[in-house]
């Protein structure tokens, strides 16, 4: 193996793949088969990049040659960059050797589109197939579904991959027309729909025949670019909800747009990556998936955007003060989960702990509840609670004063004296 050439390719093709934020390697249940290599289970982050993102998969493009010219993408046709392509065997060798040294959980393989979508998809599948059948590799494989690939290929891809994903990238159809005029919305949807239907079919069959082979056991995911087309938070979250509901997505990822081109349709080079906004969107995503909120409670026509200085749950609570205060010792799970400063971990501890005695402030603090936010919204076994009749803006002011978040300088209006 010519290590220098491989190194060069790896640098180019890893660099081009890094804007795909999905890194999860959990959700699959593939076991080690016949004393082969690897298994896939709970997901392990083997290291973290210097920007703080987890590295659990070898995330590379098969090639960064591309026939499309999407404005938001580094590998777009018109961009003058170094191009490279891996051979199938090279990807297989890299994956196996990295895996054996416990560097990675598996492979995340994406690609620029060369010749045609079907041709590209075929090559991706060939890598996965080789890993599974020739190397008896049972680690995690995440393949990109290439927009416009045929149903037959999507079916085959699911037989070898743990997860499949199509990035819809732009949350609104109008935005897509503007930035990626050669791509059609339907091209994104079609492979997604095929995979969803196959997953349902396989899980139905498994109920009858236990030995039904696996089909994309870790499901599907997608990604949206944030802050490239001036879309609102409502646009993003409603579209995310649509994908969760209608395509049974395991995850929707939000990726703050990193300026990479001088295209006039996009934010200019050097403008800041909207990391705080990204963070708020993920918080909202969690509220929808684990805390029992529905999207219209948080975002609607009157409130199309999330507030940047407070988290979305606090934002909701301040708009709905009529639900509070909540009695910690009596409220049900659903309502406990809606109190700002109480996460699901604390909810479970409260539910178990209160069976033994009524809980007071001291107990809550030790369980890890963020009392600086929660104290305005709860009563517990104590005579001491917030008696003043505070309105939403007062509570918000007091909470903001009591906390010192890492993003504080992003939203503080106060001028700094020394800077």
């Amino acid at each position: 193996m010519d290590f220098n050439r491989i190194k060069e390719k790896l640098n180019i093709l890893a660099d081009a793949a890094k804007y795909d934020v999905s890194c999860s390697s959990s959700g699959s249940n593939r076991k080690n088969k016949d004393k082969g290599l690897g298994d896939a289970g709970n997901g392990i982050c083997h290291t973290y990049t210097e920007d703080g993102r987890c590295v659990s998969l070898l995330k590379i493009l098969l090639t960064n040659h591309c026939i499309f010219d999407c404005a938001y993408c580094v590998t777009r046709k018109s961009n003058d960059i170094k191009r490279a392509a891996f051979k199938i065997q090279e990807v297989v060798d890299l994956t196996i050797n990295f895996y054996r040294r416990n560097y990675i959980e598996g492979l995340f393989l994406s690609s620029g589109i060369f010749k045609s979508p079907d041709h590209t998809m075929e090559r991706l599948i060939a890598v996965a197939k080789k890993l599974r059948l020739e190397e008896n590799f049972n680690g995690y494989i995440h393949l990109k579904s290439i927009p416009g690939a045929s149903d037959e290929l999507m079916y085959e891809a699911g037989l070898y991959a743990d997860r499949l994903s199509v990035n819809i990238e732009i949350p609104t159809i109008s935005g897509l027309k503007l930035l990626a005029p050669d791509k059609k919305h339907e091209d994104f949807i079609k492979p997604m729909l095929k995979v969803k239907n196959e997953i349902i079919r396989y899980s139905e069959e498994r109920k009858i025949i236990k030995s039904t082979p696996k089909y994309a056991p870790a499901g599907q995911s997608t990604q949206m670019v944030i802050g490239a087309t001036g879309e609102s938070d409502k646009d993003i979250m409603y579209s995310a909800t649509h994908f969760y509901k209608n395509f049974k997505m395991k995850r929707v990822y939000y990726s703050g747009y990193v300026p990479i081109s001088t295209d006039s349709r996009l934010p200019s080079l050097g403008s800041e990556v909207p990391m705080l906004r990204e963070n708020r969107l993920y918080q909202t995503d969690w509220l929808l998936r684990f805390y029992g909120f529905s999207v219209h409670e948080i975002l609607d026509a009157d409130n199309p955007n999330l507030e940047m200085d407070i988290d979305p749950k606090l934002m909701w609570a301040l708009r709905n003060l009529n639900h509070f205060p909540v009695d910690i010792n009596k409220a049900d799970t659903r309502m406990l989960a809606r109190i700002p400063g109480i996460g699901m971990g604390s909810v479970h501890k409260i539910i178990s702990g209160r069976k033994y005695r009524n809980l007071n402030w001291e107990h809550l603090k030790k369980m890890g509840v963020a009392l600086n936010r929660a104290k305005y919204f709860i009563i517990c076994n104590s005579n001491d609670w917030e008696r003043r009749d505070l309105d939403a803006s007062k509570i918000k002011g007091m909470i903001l004063q009591s906390q010192n978040g890492k993003f504080k300088n992003h939203y503080s209006n106060q001028l700094s004296l020394f800077n």
Binding site: I6, I12, Y19, L37, T47, V55, R357, K406
Partner: protein
């Protein structure tokens, strides 16, 4: 007898469980259980040396497991934390479990339960970190070798994970702090102790023990690590939080940083 008594055990988990058994047998309300060799006896305390007895240990294990399976896991994990006074805390925890008023190990309004829980959580986190941060290097005799230096004694906990995953390659994971390791020979995992002349950190010098291509792959991995970083989003604080500096010397991707 209700006074404090010091029970000295051999440091093994079974030894500890035997001590718990003896403590219960003698109806000690407070048992000061200590490891042999680290003994600190009180002025008036009586000491008794415990001889590990598998049968008695088994009875304690089964007794706790019948009460709660999550509690038995917590106890084992907390034991591996090797923290000072962890034995006394565990004794109280087991007392509570076996007492009639407590229904389970879920009383999160109780200090002792919370402490054991958080100890077990810490050990669990270290276990997970070791599953992530082990870096095998291929030796010339075709064994994948890794040395580690975990905060807690987690080797017994990670054995199964590595056996299941790397079923088709012989490997050694060696704890340089506690001076023992695991060796998988394609059949079973054995506990070994090695006479390591040097610890294989990620130094820039190459060792003759490992294959030549080993260093090529480390180099590739190093390169991959760099090119997958997004420069406009650098967040060193978060990076160090996830990959604490004490592990860096064993991670080949942090070669230049050490």
């Amino acid at each position: 007898m209700n006074s404090i008594k010091t029970l000295v055990y051999d440091g093994s988990f079974n030894g500890f469980l035997t001590a718990v058994f003896i403590g219960f047998e003698q109806k000690l309300t407070h048992a000061d259980i200590q490891k042999k060799g680290q003994l600190q006896s009180g002025l008036f305390a009586e000491t008794e040396t415990i001889f590990t007895n598998i049968e008695k240990a088994q009875r304690v294990w089964n007794g706790v497991r019948n009460k709660s399976s999550s509690a038995i896991k917590n106890i084992y994990f907390a034991f591996l934390s090797e923290q000072n006074n962890m034995e006394g805390l565990l004794y109280r925890y087991i007392q509570k479990l076996m007492g009639s008023t407590y229904k389970g190990a879920t009383d999160y309004s109780d200090d002792c339960v919370l402490k054991i829980n958080s100890l077990a959580q810490k050990v669990g986190r270290e276990k997970h970190r070791m599953e992530a941060f082990v870096r095998f290097q291929l030796t010339k005799d075709e064994v994948y070798f890794a040395n580690i230096e975990p905060d807690f004694d987690v080797l017994p906990l990670i054995s199964k994970h590595f056996r299941n995953r790397y079923a088709d390659q012989p490997w050694i994971i060696y704890d340089v702090k506690r001076k023992y390791g695991l060796y998988y020979d394609l059949q079973t995992v054995e506990i070994i102790s090695l006479d390591l002349t040097d610890i294989h950190t990620n130094s820039l010098e190459k060792s003759a023990v490992f294959t030549d291509s080993e260093y090529e792959y480390q180099d590739l991995w190093n390169n991959y690590f760099k090119s997958t970083t997004i420069k406009s989003r650098i967040n060193t604080k978060l990076h160090v939080q996830h990959v604490p500096k004490r592990y860096w010397k064993y991670l080949s991707e942090k070669k230049e940083a050490v």
